[in-house]
Amino acid sequence: MLTPADLGAIWLTLKLAGVTTLLLLLIGTPIAWWLARTRSWWKGPVGAVVALPIVLPPTVLGFYLLLLMGPNGPVGRFTEWAGIGLLPFSFGGLVVASVFYSMPFVVQPIQNAFEAIGDGPLEAAATLRASPLDAFFSVAVPLARPGFLTATILGFAHTVGEFGVVLMIGGNIPDKTRVVSVLIYDHVEALEYAQAHVLAGGMVVFAFLVLLALYLLNPTGRKRR
């Protein structure tokens, strides 16, 4: 039922989503922490930039990434200077794009969880000799566990469902940038509806399971808040 091309695309998609989610947890957690704790004027603008991908059509993001990461764009110039080469049409490029694209889905749940914790437990930790970094790992992170869980699931799922951005900067290269959503698009465009159904149906089931897991693992509203 699944062709090697399909399997390649599925594997690539999972790899992309996995790497992206991991990076996002690393990058997104400090951002979420800062957003949750800061009283700076910059909170608004930074929060808005992080949330942009929720509002923007993915093609806008993809278009600008294509320009920025291209040989005439600042990012492209930098990556070429750094010896990485250009990012479009590469797996690394997709990862960079996906990190931007899925950022709000990781940052916001973690930020909300940090905000829900409030100052209380952290002040308590400080009076118990925990340095701010220590308190972050020993108190804030464990207390924000549901937020991290939501962030991980949403970040992964949203990257799997990514299409417009990949389309714009991917170049549809088998095993490098041809992810499932693009392949479905190709199947549909080529009128190969049977093959499209297998993958599209799979995506529907996947999305359902992800959301189901989210609700089961994280019964928000019943326990917290």
Partner: protein, 246 residues
């Protein structure tokens, strides 16, 4: 509520009373179609409502009840198929333009006028439209096959979903060069920017773009008028100025 319904009703009858035609236009034909529509409206008093997109998508939409009355396809097989399936009116099909393939780079002097750059290599990415979906992509593959370069060059393919996106890859410099439609890089009768090699038509099957009246255009004078205008000399001149042959 009643008043709103009345106003909506008025608008609706106004829209249907005016003679307009819904045309689905292949993305590569966007610019000429706009110009033709202007002339068409001026000459006939009808109104042309143009939608631009991928031919494959139009096919799926037409089969699922989209309100298009005329299709200007990027190929000749889709109109034939629609006709065979009874979704288009038999006998209305004709070739309105034949596309020319061009190897293009946004860098001046990068592509020589014999296409020698293909043999020399030295590029990392070459953009083509998805050959499965786009006639220009299929023609590019044919041309490379004729030149016996396909195996060498294929690993460097980056594919746009259509030639518009392919053009974008090249225009932004992310791909050093690529195959697009001559109509995309023509400006005032010559290649506007960068460097190009017009691929000889002998290297690939002609890229015939056919038009056809769809089921929904049956008995609509505006659809008929559009087809007539498209066949006329004025339209042909416009089409040629955009780099198509006819």
């Amino acid at each position: 509520m009643k008043r709103i319904a009345f106003v909506l009703g008025l608008l609706w009858s106004a829209a249907t009373l005016a003679d307009d035609v819904q045309v689905a236009v292949a993305a590569n034909f966007t610019a000429p179609a706009k110009q033709i529509a202007e002339g068409f409206e001026k000459e006939t008093g009808h109104k042309a409502r143009l939608s631009f997109g991928a031919t494959g998508k139009f096919y799926a939409q037409v089969k699922n009840g989209a309100p298009f009355e005329v299709l200007l396809s990027a190929d000749d097989s889709t109109p034939a198929r629609l006709e065979a399936e009874g979704a288009a009116l038999a006998g209305t099909r004709f070739t309105y333009a034949t596309g020319r393939l061009v190897l293009w780079s946004s860098k001046p002097g990068y592509v020589d006028d014999k296409g020698g750059v293909l043999k020399m290599g030295g590029f990392k990415h070459i953009a083509i439209a998805n050959p499965k979906l786009a006639p220009y992509g299929a023609a590019a593959v044919e041309a490379l096959t004729s030149l016996k370069l396909l195996d060498v060059i294929q690993p460097r393919f980056v594919q746009g979903e259509n030639i518009a996106q392919t053009h974008q890859f090249i225009a932004t410099g992310n791909a050093e060069l690529g195959f697009v439609a001559l109509s995309q890089v023509m400006k005032d009768g010559k290649v506007g920017a960068g460097s190009a090699w017009v691929v000889p038509a002998t290297l690939h099957q002609p890229i015939k773009q056919d038009a056809v009246i769809l089921d929904k255009g049956k008995g609509k004078p505006a659809a008929q008028a559009w087809m007539e205008y498209l066949k006329g000399d004025k339209a042909k001149a416009m089409i040629r100025s955009f780099g198509y042959e006819i």
